[in-house]
């Protein structure tokens, strides 16, 4: 059972919700925000195992290459270029589709492995945690996300996704049984929540919303949820102390005042998302 925590807008509290909820529910914590993974900081995870993520990139055998440039013409990602000396490979643009090898008439394309990041596995607070870390300067994160999600345990997994609604998030949602959308009651939050809602609806994933930093006077997200018949799973009050705990890298669960937020959220998740 995989629950993906996403947000549309960045910085609304995905990591806050997913780390605390994973610990409270005893779920595995999985960080697929591989460009900026932060969950391990809060969980104080001890890494026990590190694996490298490698992708296949073409390696042109100059002895065999007849400079027909069929591979260059074929490549949809402009990862191969024609030069006087032969074919030049731009490995950062390569999607590892394998087409250049198929199209080559003289079998001059081999593949070599290229490292783009790591996957770390460890333990914290009696739960298992996994995160991906993209190498700095690498543009494509999807292969790391895929590698993590293809090898999950068959138990409850709480998955902390990237902000936005682009390919990293879409890839993560391919593995989702349910989703929690975390937002904040601002016009930015509302605008980006609308996009995230559209995405999970398009993918037919059951979901609910967590409103973070809610104040008495501001109901724009509540009104939106009511209008669109969207379930509100939790409301976390605007509280400077929460910001301070977060800034120090502490879990909210460590403070008894906030425990009931996650107790209630956990119940709502079980009632509304897990039984479907």
């Amino acid at each position: 059972m995989n629950i993906v925590v996403l947000s549309g807008k960045g910085g609304t509290g995905k990591t806050l919700v997913s780390t605390n909820l994973a610990v409270y529910m005893g779920a595995n914590y999985i960080d697929t925000d591989v460009e900026e993974p932060n969950g391990f900081i809060f969980l104080k995870s001890v890494v026990e195992e590190t694996a490298y993520v490698e992708i296949d990139i073409p390696d042109i055998d100059k002895q065999k290459c007849v400079m027909c440039f069929k591979c260059v013409d074929f490549c949809e990602f402009n990862a191969l270029a024609k030069t006087k000396q032969g074919v030049l490979v731009f490995d950062k643009l390569c999607h590892s589709c394998g087409g250049c090898k198929i199209v080559c008439p003289v079998d001059a394309v081999n593949y070599k492995k290229k490292n783009i990041g790591i996957i770390e596995k460890g333990k914290a607070n009696h739960i298992k945690c996994i995160r991906g870390v993209l190498n700095i300067g690498e543009p494509i994160a999807v292969p790391i996300i895929k590698e993590i999600l293809n090898n999950l345990d068959d138990t409850l997994n709480m998955i902390d996704a990237s902000p936005g609604t682009s390919c990293n998030v879409v890839k993560t949602l391919e593995y989702a049984d349910a989703a929690i959308l975390v937002t904040e009651p601002t016009k930015f939050g509302l605008h980006d929540l609308g996009r995230a809602v559209k995405l999970v609806e398009d993918l037919n994933i059951p979901f609910g919303v967590v409103i973070n930093r809610i104040t008495e006077e501001n109901n724009i997200i509540k009104d939106y949820c009511k209008e669109n018949k969207i379930h509100i799973l939790a409301e976390i009050k605007h509280d400077k102390n929460v910001a301070v705990l977060y800034s120090k890298g502490e879990l909210l669960l460590e403070d008894d005042r906030y425990k009931e937020i996650f107790e209630s959220l956990s119940n709502k998740v079980k009632e509304n998302l897990l039984c479907k």
Partner: protein
């Protein structure tokens, strides 16, 4: 002259600061490069100058009447995008990356590749300068190429202010290539510092002039000191400390730039930062009517 406002971590105040700076640096072109969570345009009304569709990459489609179900496309697709459903081969357009391998291996030409619409690109004339933004299809890929396209609309005679996306991946790389100055907005949190280290390494690898400002610096003074120390050790100048200020939420909800809240301490700091950027970047000539 191009300035990119970045953050690594999301939600640290990039848009608030980019919009605030745009109020001080007159007649700028504002480009919202946070294409899958674009918020900058919410602040502006203006006359749409152009609207065009942006296509990037392709998606494969199978013509059922031609398909002989030989399985070759399924075997060769590296993205697991093709499967058999109700006795027909179908392509999952979300998984499809448009590489064209299925088309290449199909013996009966049953696969077609169609151009994929990624976004509408809009240019809007404002009372002060111009806004360039995209309305991206939900779930579409190709944000890097889209950002490159948006940046082509920059006007070389004016200053361009880029509102970047969080992270360090293709969207961010496409947003910073060739800019003159990066302003990184960070919050004094442990995760903020961790993300700052990663984004600084990225901008360093492009050898870009970089400045840092700490937003809500007073929510954790110790962490603010740590960040300042880290920046000093790495020869990066911290050009502003913005205090926590409820006027920022007001600014977002009233869609009025923070610099127009004249009693706001955050607004004053953003104005200071903009003026420092003008000096550091040597933009005085471009901004002569404003400073």
């Amino acid at each position: 002259m191009q300035i990119a406002v970045l953050s690594g971590k999301g939600g640290t105040g990039k848009t608030t600061i980019a919009v605030g700076i745009s109020e001080v640096i007159k007649n700028s072109t504002k480009i919202d490069c946070d294409v899958d969570a674009a918020n900058m345009h919410l602040f502006y009304t203006g006359e749409k100058i152009t609207k065009e569709e942006f296509h990037s990459g392709k998606k494969a489609y199978i013509e059922i009447d031609k398909c002989i179900k030989c399985n070759k496309c399924i075997e060769n697709c590296k993205f697991d995008a093709i499967s058999e459903y109700n006795n027909e081969y179908i392509i999952d357009t979300i998984k499809c990356e448009g590489c064209g391998v299925c088309n290449l291996v199909c013996p009966v030409e049953a696969v077609r590749l169609k151009e994929n619409k990624v976004a509408d690109i809009m240019q809007v004339r404002l009372t002060d300068g111009k806004l360039v933004r995209a309305d991206m299809e939900i779930g579409a890929d190709g944000s890097g190429k889209l950002i490159t396209e948006l940046r082509k609309k920059a006007d070389n005679n004016n200053i361009t202010i880029i509102d970047g996306s969080p992270g360090i991946g293709c969207s961010v790389i496409a947003s910073i290539v060739g800019v003159n100055l990066c302003l990184i907005v960070i919050e004094p949190t442990v995760s903020g510092l961790s993300d700052l280290e990663r984004i600084l390494k990225l901008v360093e690898s492009f050898k870009l002039k970089t400045l840092v400002c700490i937003n809500k610096y007073d929510i954790n003074q110790d962490m603010t000191d740590n960040i300042k120390r880290y920046c000093e050790e790495n020869n990066v100048e911290v050009i502003g400390l913005i205090p926590y200020d409820d006027a920022v939420i007001k600014s977002i909800n009233e869609l009025k730039p923070i610099t127009r809240f004249h009693d706001s301490l955050a607004g004053k700091q953003v104005r200071n930062i903009a003026e420092k950027i003008i000096k550091i970047g040597g933009f005085e000539n471009e901004c002569s009517d404003s400073v």
